[in-house]
Symmetry: C2
Subunit: 256 residues, 2 copies
């Protein structure tokens, strides 16, 4: 008996993040998903999520896994069955059987996050939950140059939420991209992992660059300083999407 | 003293339509707008809306008007002042001074509505409030041909909500367009006015054509029949947007 791997898309607006907040009494994506999985399975199911998205953060490619022991639904029927039970702001995009030892968080080798900034003359009511609105013009070319300095293996302590406790704040960013489509500016970062609030602080810092408040060449200095106060503010959660979580082929193709 | 004309964009998801439902106790766009206008004016303001969008129907170009008597805010300051008071799902796009006799509903000469259908393999959580999801493939070319038959001056009784009471159900549709962008199919209709639920019933009928349940050439017969039961079902409100309301230049340029 293997494990099951689900890929999820969700609108995080109505939830207090992905992960169960014990005692908070607030709905999380994980709770709602586990309730629906429990209904299908006829027994309690506990999942592991690849990334702990915060309240109001969205996902197009969150990944969860759980042991398939006693699981009664054929793999090719899981997506329709689960989508029939889930509220319409959570959608199962894919269901796969994987080896029993597969772990959505520990086996992940890369994650991609995207952040959207809407820069129209006026805010747009249809983007308000999915993008951060900034009326002040940004220099996208400066932002692009600054984003390049974030690519590499660094101690990203300056870009970590104050008070965070992790063994190491060294992370590798494989790629950073800045795209402009009409009034929408988006930033994407692919890395081996991200510190708590790292993407939102990096975007907050790049905005300062786009406003010429922080020079492009200051980025390496901010990284080297390890000083959170030198980086920009943490941008709001609503513009953030967990786009993709990647696993080694060898892990995925291991026979269940 | 003239009148004021405001152009609004709003996400109708959280509202029970544009127009005040006396005694219903439910929030409408009009109520929320009038409350904010009242705060700015220091006295009660009553507006007239060009179109009575239903609950969950959206707008990118709704128009309202009201007498400017005693109005204290300069026209070029109305948009920022009002947007500072309005909730973020209602945005004033434009504010203009017009002649005192201007009436947002009676002076309108054309309205454009757009309806979105999302046709992806799976529903999209980020489109769920702004498009109708249909997994079954539609023949866009058949829909395009059928939509052409709706253009013209006809008695659209067959495309009117049952029980509606209007003096005449004759309306003119100036243009109908069907666009496909990726997984999103959109229909737009520009006409001199629309009957209650007309756009949603026309779209419901075109979907039947796209599924080959109603032949393209049946459209003129359905119109001629005046029989609501021959047209398709009324599609849900969430895919519908009031895009634009047009007025004669002579009316807009009349000196206040």
């Amino acid at each position: 008996m293997g494990s099951l791997k689900l890929t999820l898309a969700y609108d995080g607006t109505a939830y207090h993040g992905f992960q169960e907040q014990r005692g908070s009494g607030l709905a999380t994506i994980q709770e709602v998903l586990e309730q629906c999985l429990g209904k299908l399975a006829g027994h309690r199911v506990q999942v592991v999520g690849a990334g702990r998205t915060d309240a109001r953060v969205h996902a197009r490619g969150q990944v969860v896994s759980f042991p398939a022991a006693g699981w009664p639904v054929p793999v090719n029927r899981i997506t329709p069955a689960l989508n029939g039970l889930l509220p319409d702001d959570i959608v199962v995009v894919k269901a796969e059987e994987v080896a029993p030892e597969f772990h959505a968080r520990f086996d992940a080798v890369a994650k991609t996050y995207r952040y959207y900034i809407f820069t129209g003359r006026l805010p747009c009511p249809f983007q308000r939950l999915y993008a951060y609105y900034l009326s002040r013009p940004l220099d996208a070319e400066l932002i692009r140059q600054a984003a390049e300095y974030l690519v590499g293996t660094f101690d990203f302590k300056a870009f970590q939420a104050a008070g965070a406790t992790t063994k190491t704040s060294v992370r590798t960013i494989y790629a950073a991209a800045v795209e402009q489509q009409g009034d929408m500016l988006s930033f994407s970062f692919r890395g081996d992992g991200f510190l708590y609030n790292q993407v939102r602080i990096m975007v907050g810092t790049l905005i300062q660059v786009g406003w010429r408040k922080i020079p492009v060449t200051a980025i390496p200095e901010i990284i080297a300083s390890g000083n959170r106060t030198l980086a920009g503010p943490t941008v709001p959660p609503r513009g953030l999407f967990l786009e993709q979580v990647e696993y080694p082929l060898a892990v995925l193709s291991r026979v269940p």
